[in-house]
Symmetry: C2
Subunit: 325 residues, 2 copies
């Protein structure tokens, strides 16, 4: 019998989307980082994000505050990925009856640290008993700024692909953590990632930015989602992907190729964009001046028939799949 | 070390609520069936509701469609309990990689059957791998009608307590199901409960209805929440609780006292109200005329010092607690 292992996470999402009709208040439904809804005359952005013990986090590797921090970052990042302004969060927490109240206090401390920093108010949720393991689900409600938001599907042929910051650091930080290299400067990128909220809102106001997604599953996979949803092909030039100096410095200690991690590592929460090539220099300079962080062109979109390539070689943009790993 | 078993579900909710500040856009935060939020000039109602395998449902007892039906009913009922109009749902689904795709299709069939019936559009969510067991979390976003909604905290001293329909049937249906009495007419009340959406909206427009909650944990427990949040005491007269003829007929077969089930049984999704005694006859008659269902006075609110009583005897309104059962 066919199982979720056979069809994978994206097969499941496509399958579910086909079963569910929309209506006129649903401006964007299933398939992007958030749904876009007409509520009370405004365009609202809503999204859910689950964090499951032993899938998204391990209690032996992460402090409760850090689990809460990352779960909230990941949830808010879905709003950032559309260029929205996150406002409210609801948290569903399922845990075994033997869970220490101190653990829960510290988990909420992590949630609220990130929420407060980004102006998000936690307004409710649900609590439930779980027979085994802790599960967190965070729903975030955001607003669009001036009614503008960016979809995955807006890329145009000949657009360039650009990425904020330095991808690969979170995956390297996890490796360092697993090997007990507690002084490694890459660990904070894994433990305390931040959603690019202000950056996303800024991009949504630039007409030359055509599509956006957050880097949660890996640069190749997430950029591949933009290509697929836009009906385009894509070539990524791995030599142009910016490598953080600390990632470069730790390549021998960790036994890694920094460029491989930068292409495939997830949980970065950087933003990936499709950009009008005529304005890419201006946008990159203006971004750097405003946010003190690089925006780097790492590829370009092509006809759909090219598929998704890295240095001209076709790749299967599968990255991390929850049901297939 | 203190655990969730020690403080219980409501202890956990109170603990979390203390840690989380509100702001001016949060009209009502944690503590009621929904949060009430200002979004785009309107008052929106939002709520989450989790359904966990082997806690809320067992796959050996329920068809996938029925699990989906009940999870969506329970989620929409939170909006009904405030008198709101449910509009959108997001569903987070976590399941093992070996879950059959057919199971997922049938689960979504259950979700969408109830959602469609109540005009709710499923607009997105999240999917995740779960190491053991299926977990569903549904977020529902609703609108207020004319800006009106009912809280748990609005009951006034001398208000009467009223309940819609015939409580106790769902708990009896579960007993019948567990004993293999598949022809028992009480089973549909357990398997296919419906949220009282239109009824809730109607109540929210009646100025003589002061407070409302849905019957999810048991009549005594849920009515106790109204009393507690309103700073009042409560006396419930068990002789006045309406007993469905089919519940009465099955009392010997099931070996139950119908009145006990009607007082303690959960998952009914009937509505429980605090009602101005001067208008209770008019409201009950108008409700019966409109919805072809009884609205029955089953108790009255008193000074807080009386506590929560059944037939004058103090009770501990604990009912079902996820962490203490």
């Amino acid at each position: 019998m066919e199982t979720l292992r056979d069809i994978g996470e994206f097969g499941l999402i496509n399958r579910v989307a086909r079963m569910l009709p929309g209506n006129e208040a649903v401006v964007e439904g299933i398939g992007d980082d958030c749904a876009v809804l007409k509520i009370g005359g405004a365009l609202a952005l809503v999204s859910c994000d689950a964090s499951i013990e032993d899938v998204h986090f391990k209690r032996c590797l992460s402090a409760p505050e850090d689990i809460g921090w990352k779960a909230m970052t990941s949830a808010i990042s879905d709003i950032a990925a559309m260029g929205g302004h996150p406002r409210f969060a609801l948290i569903t927490l399922a845990c075994p009856a033997g869970t220490e109240t101190e653990f829960v206090d510290r988990l909420y401390h992590g949630f609220s640290t990130v929420a407060t920093r980004f102006g998000v108010t936690i307004v409710g949720g649900d609590t439930a008993h779980s027979p085994s393991g802790i599960a967190v689900d965070i729903m975030v409600i955001g607003e669009t700024v001036e009614g503008r938001y960016l979809l995955r599907s807006g890329a145009q042929q000949n657009d360039v692909l650009a990425v904020t910051g330095y991808p690969g650091r979170s995956a390297a930080g996890l490796l360092a953590l697993e090997r007990g290299l507690t002084a490694c400067p890459l660990i904070p990128a894994h433990v305390f990632p931040v959603p690019r909220v202000e950056e996303g809102k800024w991009f949504a106001q630039q007409p030359s930015v055509h599509a956006m997604i957050d880097l949660s599953d890996g640069l190749v996979q997430d950029a591949g989602h933009i290509a697929e949803r836009s009906g385009l092909g894509l070539d990524i030039d791995p030599e142009r992907v910016p490598i953080a100096p600390e990632l470069d410095a730790y390549q021998d200690t960790l036994g890694i190729n920094p460029r491989d991690l930068a292409l495939a590592g997830g949980e970065e929460y950087e933003l990936i964009l499709a950009l009008d090539p005529k304005h890419s220099d201006d946008i990159r300079q203006a971004f750097q001046d405003r946010f003190f962080m690089p925006l780097t062109v790492v590829g370009h979109f092509m006809e759909a028939s090219h598929g998704v390539c890295v240095a001209g070689e076709p790749v299967s943009p599968k990255g991390f799949d929850h049901f297939r790993k």
